[in-house]
Each structure stands twice: as structure tokens, then as C-alpha cells.
């Protein structure tokens, strides 16, 4: 089958679909859409969350089956249960280590990182009233990238690399926030501008570090880090990420309706009774903490934080109180999906951050007509 042939098939399908739409017989998608539109916003939200949760559970379990060692769902479940209950071990020791020490942390981290980046993106987009903003708008990624690279050329071990990424990620945001508060009259535009300036500063410094790195080992590992990977995720990372994520999500949840009001603009939110300075601080602190944890664990994974919030809005409307939850589930689901593909492709490890964009962009383009409707 040639490319032309397959594309003409696709067109036929489209024509058929359009014809059906005209004659009034609803297609599956249309039927779902009409059903969804008939529901109240909160019912639609609850249904979306239920469906996403179910998908996440299914994908979570099946993700354990991917990899070099074949294993059945039953064995996976038993390996987990054996941690708590007294179950006779019928599997090889290696299998236990693979499931609990390799696959489990990686799968859990994919969900946590994807969710964290998506929520951070959703929060910033609402706070800045700007659909183009992503979690690294205040310089986290650039700072962390510089920190990681700096540690790498000093032959540091993985823990130090992570710590260095974490610290420099924080430093970048503190500088951006400081610039805005000291010189910008606390203006949100100046905050974004500060972030962009700090980002380019750290990117410049990263370039310097790259020129100093040896081209045999250090430069490739810097480059690979900048493209993101969950390949080195271990249980310690999960234990590190969980509390940070918990605190951040709790803080954002407490202020969810105040953050939502900021979508009307800083001034209007203030006249509605929102303590803008406080809420802005909460959003920046929580989003930064989540992003810096994610980045220091798995390097720079783009796309998720920018686009997932838009997909969440498409499903559940613009209300921040709702898209916070939907973004988390959708982000976790998406990154787990992508990382499963990374793990599923044998021998080569495609960088995670590259694959998110390669897989995500067509999805985004396909959904754009629906998305755009809400923007105009």
C-alpha cells in the first residue's frame, strides 16, 4: 500500500463520517459529545476523573508487563502482595527485584512527574493568564540544566548531580522572583520577563559548561540529561518526590478558587477579594517545587507542562479547581504511556523528552480545532 493509497482511504473515511453527520445518524464521537454536553459541568468533571482514573489503573498494571523479563499480571500482583502478606514465593528472585526495584519506581515516577509538570503548567497558565506559559517559565529548567551539567563535568555521582540540578533550579527561580519583586513593582509581566532573562542567563552558562566538557563521556551525558529520561529512577526518588508533591498539591488545592479568579486578571481578582501577592507566592512556590523535583529526577521533559493543561481544559472546562485534578491524571497518564514506549523499544533508549513532543504534537494538532473554539 502506497502512501497515496492510505491517504485516500483516510479521506474516504472522513467523507463517510461527514455524510453520516449530515444525514443525522450520529457517529460514535458525536454521540459521546452530545452526551457530554447534556451533562452539567460538575457531572462532566466527575465522569472525566472517573474515566481517567480507570485508565490510569489499567495502564499502571499493564506497564509492569513491559520490559526484557516476561511476567504475568498475576505474578506482579503476587509480588506486591508478598510484601505485606505471607505468600509463598514461586517466582525467581530476579523477577522480584525487577518488579519492585526497577519497574515500580519508574512507573510511579512517570505518573508523578507527568502529573507534577501538568499541574505546574496549569497553575502558571492560570496565574499568568497566558496559554503559552509552561512550568519552566521562571527559569527552573535552565537553572537545573546548568546545575546538572556543572556537576557532571566535575565527575560527581548521580546523587550530587540531582542535588545540584535541584539547587540551581531553585536559585534561578529565586533570582527571577527577586528581580520582579525588587524592581518590577510586583508586576506579573515583569515576573515572566525576569524568568525569561534568567533562563537565557543559565542557558548561556550551560553553553560555557558544555564547551568545557570532554566530548567522550561528559558532553553526551549532558546532552542526554537535557533530553530527559526516567531510566535512572529508583525508589529513593519516589520517596523524595512524594512529600514534595503532596505539599505542593495540597497548597494549590487550598487556594484553587483564588487561583481560578486570577484568570480574570490580577486587578480584577484583587477587587474580588483575592490576596494576589499571597496566592502568587503559593503558586510560584508550589509549581517551582514540583518542577524542580521532576527535573532533578528525570532531566528536562518538555511539552507535558505546556500542552496537557489545554487538553484538560478541553475535557473539563477552564475552571482551575477542576483542571488541576484533570491535568494531574492526564499528565501522569500521558507520561506513563510515553515512558512505556521508551521501555518497550528494545536496545535503544529514545530520550523521553524527545518522544513526548514527537507523540504529543500530532495529538495536539488533531485536537486543536476543538481547543481553538474556546480561545476566540
Amino acid at each position: 500500500m502506497t502512501a497515496a493509497g492510505s491517504s485516500s482511504l483516510a479521506t474516504e473515511a472522513a467523507v463517510e463520517g461527514a455524510a453520516r453527520a449530515e444525514t443525522g445518524a450520529p457517529t460514535g464521537v458525536q454521540r459521546v459529545r452530545t452526551t457530554l454536553q447534556g451533562l452539567t459541568a460538575s457531572a462532566r468533571f466527575r465522569m472525566t476523573v472517573a474515566v481517567l482514573l480507570a485508565l490510569l489503573v489499567v495502564l499502571f498494571v499493564t506497564s509492569f508487563l513491559i520490559g526484557r523479563y516476561d511476567i504475568s499480571v498475576r505474578t506482579v500482583v503476587d509480588i506486591f502482595l508478598a510484601e505485606v502478606f505471607d505468600i509463598g514465593q514461586y517466582w525467581e528472585d530476579t523477577l522480584g527485584v525487577v518488579v519492585l526495584g526497577v519497574r515500580a519506581p519508574r512507573i510511579i515516577l512517570a505518573i508523578l512527574v507527568g502529573g507534577a509538570l501538568a499541574v505546574a503548567g496549569a497553575s502558571y497558565q492560570t496565574l499568568f493568564k497566558n496559554p503559552l506559559v509552561s512550568p519552566d517559565i521562571l527559569g527552573v529548567s535552565a537553572g537545573a540544566g546548568f546545575g546538572a551539567a556543572l556537576a557532571m563535568i566535575n565527575e560527581a555521582n548521580w546523587a550530587v548531580i540531582q542535588a545540584s540540578a535541584f539547587v540551581f533550579g531553585l536559585i534561578a527561580v529565586v533570582i527571577a522572583y527577586g528581580i520582579a519583586n525588587l524592581f518590577g513593582g510586583r508586576s506579573i509581566t515583569v515576573l515572566i520577563l525576569g524568568g525569561i532573562v534568567v533562563s537565557s542567563l543559565f542557558q548561556a552558562m550551560l553553553s560555557i559548561v558544555k564547551t568545557l566538557a570532554d566530548t567522550e563521556n561528559q558532553l553526551p551525558s549532558i546532552t542526554f540529561w537535557l533530553m530527559g529520561s526516567l531510566g535512572r529512577g529508583v525508589n529513593r526518588d519516589v520517596l523524595f518526590m512524594l512529600p514534595a508533591l503532596g505539599i505542593s498539591l495540597a497548597a494549590l488545592f487550598l487556594f484553587r478558587h483564588h487561583i481560578n479568579a486570577l484568570a480574570a486578571g490580577e486587578d480584577e481578582a484583587r477587587t474580588m477579594g483575592v490576596n494576589v501577592t499571597l496566592v502568587k507566592g503559593v503558586v510560584v512556590a508550589a509549581s517551582t517545587l514540583m518542577t524542580v523535583c521532576a527535573v532533578s529526577i528525570c532531566g528536562i521533559v518538555g511539552w507535558v507542562g505546556l500542552v496537557i493543561p489545554h487538553l484538560a481544559r478541553m475535557l473539563a472546562g477552564a475552571n482551575y479547581a477542576r483542571i488541576m485534578t484533570v491535568s494531574f491524571l492526564l499528565g501522569g497518564l500521558f507520561l506513563l504511556c510515553v515512558d512505556d514506549i521508551v521501555r518497550g523499544v528494545p536496545k535503544v533508549e529514545v530520550p523521553l523528552g524527545v518522544l513526548t513532543a514527537i507523540i504529543g504534537t500530532p495529538i495536539f494538532a488533531a485536537l486543536l480545532p476543538r481547543l481553538r473554539r474556546g480561545w476566540t
Binding site: T126, K129, N130, L254, A269, G273
Partner: protein, 269 residues
């Protein structure tokens, strides 16, 4: 309800935007704030709303000094209807109205049944219940303005500050908004209306403040304050305020007519 005493404000030291502004606003009052561009009307509004911190003077709401209270406390006394508003995301009209309840929400709480009922009622009163699930950004200018008024009403504050609510609206919608202003004042709201149309003073207001260069030039009832002389000096262009009898019903009304064709007395083009 609202009283402003000797309010002063400057963005830059020694350049006073508001030099000495005092006025009062009682329940059921509609105060029309008139003045040329760049005269400090918006700055005054921003000071009242707590978006600027006054450099001098005091603001009282319900007898309480609110010059430096928290946004939350102020929002319970005074709500703002902006000239136009847009949101970056696909919000439904009702969700915009819900935002007005945020001052009444405890941190962490979800909107209660009561909160939702208040919003629904505000939309019903304004006759825009049918817009509830419509996308705010796709509404017409007039409909959007109504949603913003509903949001301000949902805030349940006694004073409404409206910044040129009829700008960008067609003639019919302008009249609709003025009727609404009148109706709201009958309900007990005190309304501060910033406008560029002196006619609004006669149509919907019972108090007028004329402002120029950061000071109050005159204040009082529309009939006393809005005259040919005062408007001519306020806007620097000749305006005639005359009384006219409306066609059939025998009612009379005052209208402001700028002299466009022969009114520049040889000054300027």
C-alpha cells in the same frame, strides 16, 4: 455607604494625580463621575478599589476606614464592574459569575449551595440565565457586560464601582445598562459610575462629581452641576445643556449637545 475624604495620590513624588478629592455616596445613590481623559478618574477608582494605595486622605465604607484593609474585607463592601474583561481560557459565563464569590469562600472550601444560589439569582435578576453555559469569550459586548455585573452582584457588596460600563456598547445596550443601573439603585445598591457621557448624569444618576486635574470642580445634583458653563469649562469645548420636551408624553428631559458645527468660537480647526 461610601465616603472619600481629602484623597490624594501620586505615582511619582511631587506629581499629584489626585490632589484633594472628597465626596460621599449614600444608599440608593448613583453618582456620576465626569471629567476629561487623564484627569484621574481611573486613578480614583483604583484607589477606592485598593489597587493603588492613596498617599493621603481616607476612604470609609459603611463608616469603616478601608484605606488599608485586606482585599477580602474590601471586596465584601465594594465590587467592581470593569469596562471590558476577557479571559484567556474557555470559561463558561456562570463560572465567571462564580468568581465573584471567592471573597466569601474560606481557604480550601468549595462553593456551597448558597454560593451557587446567589450566582444563579444574580443571573436571573439580570435576565441572563440563558447564558449560563455559554462561553464567556464568545458572548457579545452587551452580554459580557451583563455577566460582569452579575459577577459584581454575586459579591454581595453594597457599593458597585462601574468603569465606563457603556463604552463599546451599541445604543440599545447602553440604554439597557443605564436602566439596570437605575434598577440596582432602587434595590439599595450605591453606584459609582465613571462615564464620558454627561447625558448619563440626567438619565441615571442623582449625584454628579465633576473632576479635572485631580480636584473636584463641582458636586451635587445633576440639575445643579451639569450646566452649559460647567461642561464647557470641564471639557474645553462648547456644550449646550437644554431642557426639551419629549415628543408625546409631555415629559421633559435635559440633554447635553456639543456644538460641533459652529461651536469652537474661532478657536482651533
Amino acid at each position: 455607604m461610601l465616603s472619600v475624604e481629602n484623597l490624594q495620590f501620586s505615582y511619582v513624588k511631587d506629581q499629584m494625580v489626585l490632589k484633594d478629592v472628597s465626596f460621599g455616596l449614600g444608599a440608593h445613590d448613583v453618582l456620576c463621575l465626569l471629567g476629561p481623559n487623564g484627569t484621574g478618574k481611573t486613578t480614583l477608582l483604583r484607589c477606592l478599589l485598593g489597587l493603588h494605595r492613596p498617599t493621603g486622605g481616607r476612604i470609609f465604607l459603611d463608616g469603616r476606614d478601608v484605606t488599608e484593609v485586606s482585599p477580602r474585607a474590601r471586596a465584601k463592601y465594594m465590587a467592581y464592574v470593569p469596562q471590558a474583561s476577557s479571559v484567556a481560557f474557555p470559561y463558561e459565563a456562570e463560572e465567571i459569575v462564580h468568581m465573584g464569590r471567592v471573597a466569601h469562600l474560606r481557604v480550601g472550601a468549595s462553593p456551597s449551595k448558597n454560593d451557587r444560589a446567589v450566582c444563579r439569582e444574580a443571573m436571573e435578576v439580570l435576565g441572563i440565565s440563558h447564558l449560563r453555559t455559554k462561553m464567556f469569550n464568545r458572548l457579545s459586548g452587551g452580554e459580557r457586560q451583563m455577566v460582569l455585573v452579575a459577577r459584581a452582584m454575586a459579591q454581595q457588596a453594597g457599593v458597585l464601582a462601574m468603569d465606563e460600563p457603556t463604552a463599546n456598547l451599541d445604543y440599545g445596550n447602553q440604554v439597557k445598562i443605564l436602566r439596570l443601573v437605575h434598577h440596582l439603585s432602587e434595590q439599595g445598591y450605591s453606584i459609582l459610575l465613571v462615564t464620558h457621557f454627561p447625558d448619563h448624569a440626567f438619565l441615571a444618576c442623582n449625584q454628579v462629581v465633576l473632576m479635572k486635574d485631580g480636584v473636584v470642580k463641582a458636586r451635587g445634583s445633576p440639575e445643579a452641576v451639569v450646566t452649559s458653563e460647567s461642561l464647557t469649562s470641564l471639557y474645553g469645548t462648547e456644550v449646550s445643556v437644554t431642557e426639551t420636551t419629549l415628543c408625546d408624553c409631555g415629559m421633559s428631559a435635559r440633554v447635553c449637545v456639543p456644538l460641533v458645527r459652529n461651536g469652537n468660537n474661532g478657536k482651533g480647526p
